[in-house]
């Protein structure tokens, strides 16, 4: 067993887990945050994407111990209180989800994508950037629309603020 401590959604947390525990299981089982999902065994589907130190990571790909003392953000930590993150709001506004299972990973990937590309996201780039996230319900059409809309909105807000 190993004691693993990290900052999870802004709160310091700790838990004793088996050495082999993956970050996704640490988040889901040791910390009880079940918004992060497991959809495959091969780091392909992206349902488990979280942010580690500000970067999108498949949480099934790293050990919890590798995230020791890191800042980890999950979908539960994205909204500002009752105010949805613009990407969350855009997924709802553009019907970018159906069964909801891939959605947390999609949203976390999208936030990271927008942070890296800013307002320069076009459809081709969004589709390429989504290669690590599989959705079986939406055919991606509305996910792409939602990410584009959120990117445009966030970029406009940033421009207005500057």
């Amino acid at each position: 067993m190993t004691k693993v401590a990290m900052t999870l959604n802004g709160k310091k947390v700790t838990a004793d887990v088996e050495d082999r525990t993956l970050l996704v299981h640490y988040i889901r089982e040791a910390q009880g945050l079940t918004g992060t999902h497991v959809g495959c065994d091969t780091s392909q589907c992206g349902a488990c994407v979280v942010h580690v130190n500000g970067r999108a990571v498949k949480s099934c790909t790293m050990l919890a111990a590798q995230a020791s003392n890191a800042e980890v953000l999950t979908v539960e930590g994205l909204a500002n209180g009752a105010e949805l993150h613009p990407v969350q709001a855009a997924f709802r506004e553009h019907h970018g989800l159906q069964c909801g299972f891939c959605t947390p990973g999609m949203i976390m990937t999208a936030v990271d994508m927008i942070q890296r590309h800013g307002g320069n996201l076009d459809e081709k780039t969004i589709r390429h950037e989504l290669e690590g996230n599989i959705c079986r319900c939406t055919g991606y059409h509305n996910i792409v629309k939602a990410i584009k809309a959120a990117a445009d909105q966030m970029s406009a807000l940033q421009t207005a603020a500057e």
């Binding site: 088996e18 082999r20 889901r28 009880g32 945050l33 079940t34 918004g35 992060t36 999902h37 497991v38 959809g39 495959c40 065994d41 091969t42 392909q44 589907c45 349902a47 999950t74 979908v75 539960e76 994205l78 909204a79 949805l84 969350q88 997924f91 709802r92 506004e93 019907h95 989800l97 159906q98 069964c99 909801g100 299972f101 891939c102 959605t103 947390p104 949203i107 459809e123 081709k124 969004i126 589709r127 390429h128 989504l130 290669e131 996230n133 599989i134 959705c135 079986r136 319900c137 939406t138 055919g139 991606y140 059409h141 509305n142 996910i143 792409v144």
Partner: protein, 786 residues
């Protein structure tokens, strides 16, 4: 929110929990003292089990039990069943082999469960499963259905000589033969429909909890139809009587058919929870899902189309071999028969059709309904041969289709179905206009100038949804009725709960069903709650599959709303001393026509429950239930147009434009309908270009992970152009037809017709991978369109 009636693009009520990570899926459920199950699975496709040694596993601290088929049989757990009886053409019943939830004698596909380990943690359960030693004596395996029928092929079940499950036919053979005898042209094709794995993103899961004091079981599970699960678990698997078994299907992460069925793992989890006296959780990993979720499709067909001298279709002859895998899954027999061959008339007036279907056992994962279930297979056969026949006789595929369209309704086909309404020219016209069909030759020439091959493919599909009149499916062998139930409970404060037997696993029922209530009473959708997925709350239901939640599930809600409305109007008339016929409901208020007298809907609800002043003899309360049994299938139809560009150097196909023009009848929420079509199209394009459940000759599934099975990703598919036309379905109160499967049904032939047009070679199997397209296109040089 607010009043959002029929036709509103209402945003989804259920979204908030999903986008904030608060969805409640089965794997999220944690119970006190919970144990975890891991299955010991066969590495062989066909083998005799000679010994199971669990001693090492049982010695591991934290292992509660290792259970095998011997204990399962001793405890009286029943074999898995197929619930739809199909008879061969000689009248004999289908040959069903025994399927045990845990096999202890002969395994018949890789991944079949032979034992289960119950342990304190998931990791420990899996470690212990690896420590169970099973001795096998390998037997020869067979994976091809056609080969399985040959003399000398390995035999799977003693009940099914030559591995033949049934040899079934539909239509009139003599009149079809006569049509071919006098035909002026016959088009013949061999067509394969590739085997697919449904792959909802949430793997199957079960949490079973046995209460020893009450002798009562609760099962949380990933089901599209929790009441059917309870019925089958009770009536056939003898797990518990229905009143001692509660099945809850909470948020379910997609189904696409694969979560209709009741699998060995759910049965074992329930049984094991009583055995060990603790709750048991099982969660499939993705490779287990590939090995054990029911697969889809896998047909091999020879089709022949007879034309007269005027290129009018006179006959259609189809012979199909359907691979059903190692066992007969719950509705497997209906898929290649009544859900397939009954749609072989397509959108066309074909006077004579005869189809023969042989269903076959092989050493592969069982095959059952997957999005479309039989109808994609039928549409692929029909739309490939229609396109091919047009090319052979030198007619434009558009003109050839128009020449043969059904144009008067109702239209009785030679294969049971009676089409009730449609306008095939309207969807064809809409699609051609949207894709700029007339401008295609210029685009083809322009592509050729860049060394690229452009192709245009059409698919004019029709399908049957809303399954179906109970008496009709009963006469065809179904073991269940296919009605739906609903209950509308108006609370004393005027808020409304709708309990439905339909189940939402992505379809947005919490929104669209609330829109029906909003439309009816003029109340805001935020005052309406949709309750589903729990056998303790909803009395009964047949669940969601076959695009039936709208046409059947919503029709039941409409019937219940009719009763609530009638009672509310009686109360209002009584309280306002008016006649019932003068009461009108508008904007949440019941008014007396022509006066200023009115009472709000919530005042009527309160009056119903206080019961201080009700009409003579009226019972208190405002709650009504209804069962709706359809009068016919419904028949969504449409035209899909696909334009592709192929790189002849690499064989890579790019879909440059895809138009879907659908007639779904009445649409409740266009936003949700569009989402259903987007998803269906992508699964259909996945079948056409990417997906294939590939077995080697020994029965090993080569594509058992996302590293090997090509799921469509965002950059594999285009953005789509969607259009709808509307002819109302005359058979249900709202005129709905269903939209959930159309995309997956109509799109594969459009894609293949487009690629074969581009490469000028009609011999191309699905999935049309770059390698296959490259090979097929060798020698086809870029040519300008004439």
């Amino acid at each position: 929110m607010g009043v959002e009636g029929i036709g509103a693009r209402a945003l989804r009520k259920e979204d908030k929990r999903f986008i904030t990570g608060k969805g409640k899926y089965t794997d999220d459920k944690v119970l006190p003292r919970m144990t975890y199950a891991a299955f010991v699975r066969s590495p062989h496709a066909h083998a005799k089990i000679t010994n199971i040694d669990a001693s090492a596993a049982l010695e591991m601290p934290g292992v509660e039990a290792v259970l095998t088929g011997h204990e399962l049989v001793a405890d009286g757990i029943g074999n898995l069943i197929c619930g739809w009886m199909v008879h061969s053409k000689d009248g004999s019943p289908m040959n069903m082999g025994a399927w045990r939830a845990l096999e202890s004698e002969i395994v018949r596909h890789t991944g079949q469960a032979v034992a289960v380990v119950i342990a304190d943690t998931q990791e420990l359960a899996r470690d212990a499963a690896d420590a169970v030693n099973v001795d096998y004596e390998e037997l020869p395996a067979i994976v091809s259905a056609s080969a399985a029928l040959l003399d000398g092929a390995p035999q799977l079940h003693p009940e099914a000589p030559n591995n033949l499950i049934f040899d079934w036919e539909i239509g009139d053979e003599a009149s079809t033969d006569a049509a071919f005898a006098s035909a002026s042209h016959v088009t013949r094709m061999e067509i394969e429909n590739n085997r697919l794995v449904p792959n909802p993103m949430e793997p199957r899961a079960a949490v079973a909890d046995y209460d020893v004091a009450e002798e009562h079981y609760t099962l949380y599970t990933t089901s599209q139809n929790p009441h059917v699960a309870r019925l089958v678990l009770s009536a056939f698997y003898n797990v518990a009587p229905e009143h001692k078994l509660r099945v809850i299907a909470p948020d379910v992460g997609g189904g696409f058919g694969s979560k209709i069925f009741i699998y060995p793992e759910e049965i074992v989890a329930l049984w094991a929870s009583k055995r060990v006296g603790r709750p048991v959780k099982w969660v499939s990993d993705r490779t287990e899902a590939f090995l054990t979720d029911a697969h889809g499709r896998d047909h091999k067909t020879v089709a022949e189309l007879a034309l007269d001298a005027n290129n009018k279709i006179t006959g259609f002859r189809v012979k199909t071999v359907a691979n059903l895998g190692a066992y007969m899954s719950l509705f497997s027999s209906s898929v290649p028969t009544y859900l397939y061959a009954t749609l072989l008339s397509g959108q066309y007036d074909i006077p004579a059709i005869h189809a023969n279907v042989k269903a076959v056992y092989t050493n592969t994962t069982p095959v059952d309904a997957y999005r479309g279930a039989g109808r994609p297979e039928a549409t692929f056969v029909v739309e490939r041969i229609i396109e091919t026949a047009a090319r052979e006789v030198g007619m434009s595929p558009v003109d050839f289709r128009r020449q043969n369209f059904v144009r008067s309704f109702p239209h009785q086909t030679p294969v049971i179905m009676c089409y009730d309404a449609g306008d095939h020219d309207a969807t064809l016209d809409a699609a051609l206009k949207a894709i700029d069909y007339d401008g295609f030759p210029a685009r083809k020439s322009e592509a050729a100038s860049r060394g690229k091959l452009r192709g245009m493919g059409l698919s004019c599909y029709i399908e049957a949804c809303g399954i179906a009149p109970s008496a009709a499916v009963g006469s065809l062998g179904a073991g269940v009725g296919l009605w739906e139930s609903a209950e509308v409970r108006v609370n004393p404060v005027g808020t409304i709960e709708v309990l439905t037997g339909s189940h939402s696993h992505g379809q947005g029922h919490e929104t669209t069903f609330a829109q029906l209530v909003s439309e009816r009473f003029g109340v805001g959708t935020e005052t309406v709650a949709i309750v589903h997925g729990d056998t303790d709350k909803v009395q009964f239901g047949m669940g969601t599959y076959g695009s039936r939640s709208g046409a059947v599930g919503m029709s039941a809600i409409v019937k219940a709303l009719d009763k609530v409305e009638a009672k509310a109007k009686r109360i209002a008339a009584h309280l306002m001393e008016a006649s019932e016929g003068d009461i009108q409901i508008e904007g949440g208020v019941l008014k007396v026509a022509g006066t200023d007298k009115k009472l709000s809907f919530s005042e009527i609800a309160l009056a119903a429950y206080t019961a201080h002043n009700l009409p003579e003899g009226m019972e208190p309360g405002l709650k009504e239930g209804a069962f709706y049994d359809p009068t016919n299938f419904t028949f969504p139809s449409g035209t899909y147009a696909c334009e592709v560009e192929v790189d002849p150097d690499t064989g890579k196909t790019e879909i440059v434009n895809f138009v879907a023009a659908d007639d779904f009848g009445k649409i409740i929420n266009p936003m949700i309908v569009e989402g259903q079509v987007h998803g269906g199209l992508t699964q259909g394009i996945g079948q056409a270009l990417l997906e294939n459940a590939a077995y080697d000759e020994n029965g090993q599934l080569l594509s058992a992970s996302y590293m090997d099975y090509a799921m469509p990703r965002a950059d594999d598919v285009p953005s789509y152009q969607l259009l709808t036309t509307e002819t109302l379905c005359p058979g249900n109160p709202l005129g709905m037809k269903g939209c959930g499967e159309a995309g997956a049904i109509g799109s594969p032939p459009a894609v293949i017709n487009a690629i074969t047009d581009a490469i000028n070679n009609n011999d191309l199997a699905m999935p049309a991978t770059a390698e296959r397209v490259w090979r097929a296109s060798r020698g086809a040089l870029p040519q300008a369109a004439e």
